[in-house]
């Protein structure tokens, strides 16, 4: 499909600041900890969405999958 007809993604440049990186690291740690604790996928996905929504004001997070778990 020719790219000219499809809207392109904006270019996002630069890196998150240290605080943001810590937040991401913290996020990953928390989620992996859940995984290690044998939490169900549903609980983990819920935690991911809520963490994102808490981290970014005025947004909604969602996960869509082809296969129902």
């Amino acid at each position: 499909m020719p790219n000219s007809h499809v809207t392109q993604n904006p270019k996002v440049t630069g890196s998150p600041n240290t605080q943001e990186l810590y937040a991401i690291l913290n996020f990953q740690s928390q989620i992996l900890e859940k995984v290690a604790q044998d939490a169900t996928p549903e609980q983990i996905f819920d935690d991911i969405c809520r963490f994102i929504e808490q981290s970014i004001p005025a947004c909604v997070a969602s996960i869509m999958l082809f296969h129902v778990i």
């Binding site: 998150p16 943001e20 991401i24």
Partner: protein, 819 residues
């Protein structure tokens, strides 16, 4: 392109802040370019960052949904587990147009990573579950129990895994057994524990594959055989060994082996010969007994056909019938005469089974079980001989004779005749009684020897009773042939027999019946030979007689008269006839013998020889005899009144009259009733009666004599009387039997006997009367010899009372009173 299925749909798996109707709107989203950020990202496998949805072509298909829920920006990242597979998307949506910061991008990337990890974990868990399920299914359906066993350095044992099959084998559940190894160990048979442990220790020490069979008790008490096999896992940590293996229940296998072992013992040790042949009837195995019975070694028989043992005693049809039976019934049993290696022909009892393949039902083998029944056959033959032969003479007995006679009659050629001779020894009873059974038996053996010498080897002689013999002579041309055989036998028997150093005489009487003339079955022929034997005895013994059909017929006819005979007395059908007895000159009547006749309403006058036998058999003789006495006394009274004097009326006595009543009382009352002087009555007793009842009847005769009655011995010369008792008996007269008188003067023997009897009588001071005098020559002879009285047709036949009255008148015996 990463996404390859247009038909797959995305589902909202998690969206904690989206309202339900928004979730519904996005559910089932099919990936495509234009299907929003998530649909496009999933389709293309790349992040889609829509910063202003209103002007973004990637939302072309979903713009109304975006407007409905006021979504103005949406950043979506694909979730990719491996390089080729998009599993879904994660998205951040905003209600204002919005461009992501690097933080947002990193956050999304971090989220997709952890989601991937979670999804991989889910997949792994699924795969693990699937494997466990599969393993479980396999172990459930496998026979036996799979296990994992751990042995520590200090020999601690445990099952780290056991499949559920262990419960069926031991009654202990897999779970319990894994928790407590002792539960299984304590069920092992005490005698097998030490060996089991030794085998485990050995395998463990040398890291060898382990396999061992042992017994274990099921919790229900049943003893099972298990076979355990296991292999050591390669890694040994801290001296711990992990063994993976299986336990199998081999109880049925052990039972089969035991059965086979026993069958093998039976096969080797049975006394019956067992031979196994393949479907082509080639011998594949035999046991020792078969070798012994057949005389061939195993090596000589293997590969051979059982026809090696064939004798020529059976027809090909016989063998064919065996095959036919095997074909249909798969089994045959019977006796076969086989030939041993030595050439000896022996009887075998044989059981043959056709063996079929259990699944295909096709013939695979024949199994023959064979028993040598020579011994049984010999015993059978011996028994048969005992059953069919007389132990004393070893001659065939009546049973075998009847069978031979039957066979001879059945297989007789049309023109051929068969004779059955029934022989009876005339004086056997006398010899047996006087010398004892030992000499009686000896006599029978000598008689047998003479018979055998006299007869042809093809003739069959049998002992059919105490002193009775039967002889079967086949292939006769005419009846005279049979007579000649009988004549030879009679002649052979006339010679004396030496018993205990002395000579004894016995003679034979023989009755002959010929097939087909006198009957064509054994019963008729036997009966007729018997009748002929009686005829021969009537002829005076030491003789033979050919059966005369007309006599037999009359006998049978007369037997029908029995009920009529019973009525004859009450119906007053009996008559007394009188035959005069003359003095020595033959000119003067000195007495008469009263003789009974039966005046049958339909058949006319019947002679006593035709009915007295029947009367005796049916117990009528006492009644008839007493009627005769009464009638005779009555008639004598009439004649006395008519002037008869010096006259003796002879009346025959029947045995039952003497033995079954008080005869002297009877006679005494008759004498009184009819006023008859006792010396006018002469009672005749048969010589044969005296032979049998000498002792018990002597008192009767003495009493009769005391009454003044005369006693005469009738039919003298036929009964082989002992002279000693003649002397003791209170008799006055003997009557010479007519059979002796009949052949005078032709038969010198009879003449001599008659002379001797007369002389004897006179020596004992007895009167002698000759019966049956028919010719002047006989009369002359008897006169010369001094016989006191004569009786017979020469003077008068028996006549009725009226005629006798006339006769008396002619002789001037009744004149006096009539004048």
């Amino acid at each position: 392109m990463l996404f390859d299925s247009a038909h797959q749909q995305l589902h909202v798996t998690c969206a904690p802040s989206l309202p339900p109707n928004a979730i519904d709107a996005f559910n089932g989203l099919e990936p495509a370019i234009g299907a929003g950020s998530c649909g496009t990202s999933a389709f293309m496998g790349i992040p889609v960052l829509a910063v202003d949805i209103a002007n973004d072509s990637r939302w072309d298909h979903l713009r109304d949904v975006a407007e409905q829920f006021d979504i103005q920006a949406c950043w979506s990242y694909p979730i990719i587990l491996d390089e080729h597979q998009v599993n879904g998307t994660i998205a951040i949506s905003s209600f204002t147009p919005r461009t992501p910061h690097p933080f947002h991008i990193k956050l999304l990337e971090a989220a997709t990573n952890v989601i991937s990890i979670v999804l991989k974990r889910v997949d792994s868990q699924k795969a693990l579950d699937h494997t466990a399920h599969l393993l479980n299914n396999i172990t459930q359906t496998m026979p036996g129990a799979l296990y994992q066993y751990r042995l520590t350095a200090n020999k601690q044992q445990e099952f780290t895994y056991l499949s559920s099959g262990i419960k069926q084998m031991t009654g202990v559940s897999a779970e319990d057994a894994c928790n407590n190894f002792g539960l299984i160990w304590k069920q092992v048979h005490p005698e097998d524990k030490a060996q089991l442990w030794t085998s485990i220790a050995h395998a463990s020490q040398h890291s060898l594959a382990w396999s061992h069979e042992f017994r274990i008790f099921h919790l229900n008490g049943e003893l099972k055989w298990l076979r355990g096999s296991s292999l050591l896992e390669e890694e040994v940590v801290d001296g711990k060994q992990i063994w993976n293996g299986v336990f199998l229940d081999i109880t049925p296998e052990k039972a089969s082996i035991e059965k086979l072992r026993l069958a093998g013992i039976a096969f080797s040790n049975t006394n019956d010969g067992i031979m196994i042949a393949d479907k082509n009837n080639v011998i594949v195995d035999i046991n020792q007994a078969y070798a012994d019975i057949s005389g061939y070694s195993r090596e000589e028989l293997l590969g051979q056909s059982p026809t090696l043992l064939k004798s020529n005693k059976h027809s090909p049809a016989f063998y064919q019938s065996i095959w036919d039976t095997l074909e249909i019934h798969k089994h045959w049993q019977g006796e076969i005469w086989n030939k041993r290696k030595s050439g000896e022909i022996v009887p075998h009892l044989v059981n043959i089974n056709a063996v079929l393949d259990p699944s295909s039902q096709e013939l695979t083998h024949y199994v023959s079980v064979l028993a040598d029944i020579s011994g049984i056959k010999a015993s059978e033959a011996k028994l048969s001989h005992l059953v069919h032969h007389d132990a004393l003479t070893n001659l065939p007995n009546r049973l075998l004779f009847s069978a031979r006679l039957d066979h001879a009659i059945t297989h007789r050629n049309t023109n051929e005749k068969i004779a059955m001779l029934h022989m009876d020894l005339d004086r056997f009873k006398h010899i047996n009684d006087s010398l004892g059974h030992t000499y009686g038996d000896e006599l029978l053996i000598q008689v047998t020897a003479r018979l055998t010498q006299t007869l042809n080897p093809t003739d069959i002689v049998a002992r059919v009773g105490g002193d009775e013999f039967a002889i079967l002579v086949e292939e006769l041309d005419d009846n005279d042939d049979a007579s000649r055989v009988a004549d030879n036998i009679v002649a052979a028997m006339e010679q004396p027999f030496t018993l205990n150093g002395h000579d004894y005489f016995t003679t034979a009487s023989i009755g002959i019946a010929i097939a087909p003339d006198h009957g064509e079955d054994i019963d008729v022929l036997t009966k007729n030979a018997d009748i002929a034997l009686n005829q021969a005895k009537d002829l005076g013994r030491n003789n033979y007689a050919l059966f005369q059909p007309e006599l037999s017929e009359s006998v049978e006819e007369w037997i029908k008269l029995e009920p009529q005979l019973r009525k004859a007395i009450s119906e007053k059908q009996f008559r007394l006839f009188y035959q005069p007895q003359m003095d020595r000159s033959g000119n003067n009547i000195i007495g008469a013998e009263a003789l009974i006749r039966w005046q049958h309403p339909e058949r006319g006058l019947i002679s006593p020889i035709h009915f007295l036998g029947i009367a005796e058999e049916i117990g009528l003789m006492k009644k008839i005899g007493n009627w005769v006495l009464e009638e005779a006394f009555q008639q004598l009274a009439i004649w006395r009144q008519a002037g008869l004097r010096s006259f003796k009326l002879a009346i025959n006595l029947a045995s039952d009259q003497i033995t079954k009543q008080n005869l002297p009382d009877k006679i005494s009352s008759l004498l009184n009733a009819y006023k008859i002087p006792p010396d006018m009555i002469e009672l005749e007793i048969l010589e044969t009666f005296l032979l049998e009842h000498q002792h018990e009847s002597s008192k009767t005769f003495t009493e009769l004599r005391a009454l003044g009655i005369n006693l005469a011995l009738d039919d003298f010369g036929t009964g082989y009387s002992s002279l000693s008792y003649l002397k003791k008996l209170p008799i006055n007269k003997i009557e010479i039997d007519q059979s002796l008188v009949r052949d005078i003067p032709e038969d010198a023997n009879d003449e001599a006997i008659t002379k001797a009897v007369i002389l004897l009588g006179h020596t004992l001071d007895l009167k002698v009367c000759a019966e049956g005098v028919e010719t002047p020559e006989q009369r002359a002879f008897l006169e010369i010899e001094g016989c006191d009285q004569l009786q017979g047709y020469l003077f008068s036949k028996p006549i009725d009372p009226a005629d006798f009255s006339n006769l008396l008148r002619q002789h001037n015996r009744l004149v006096a009173l009539e004048a």
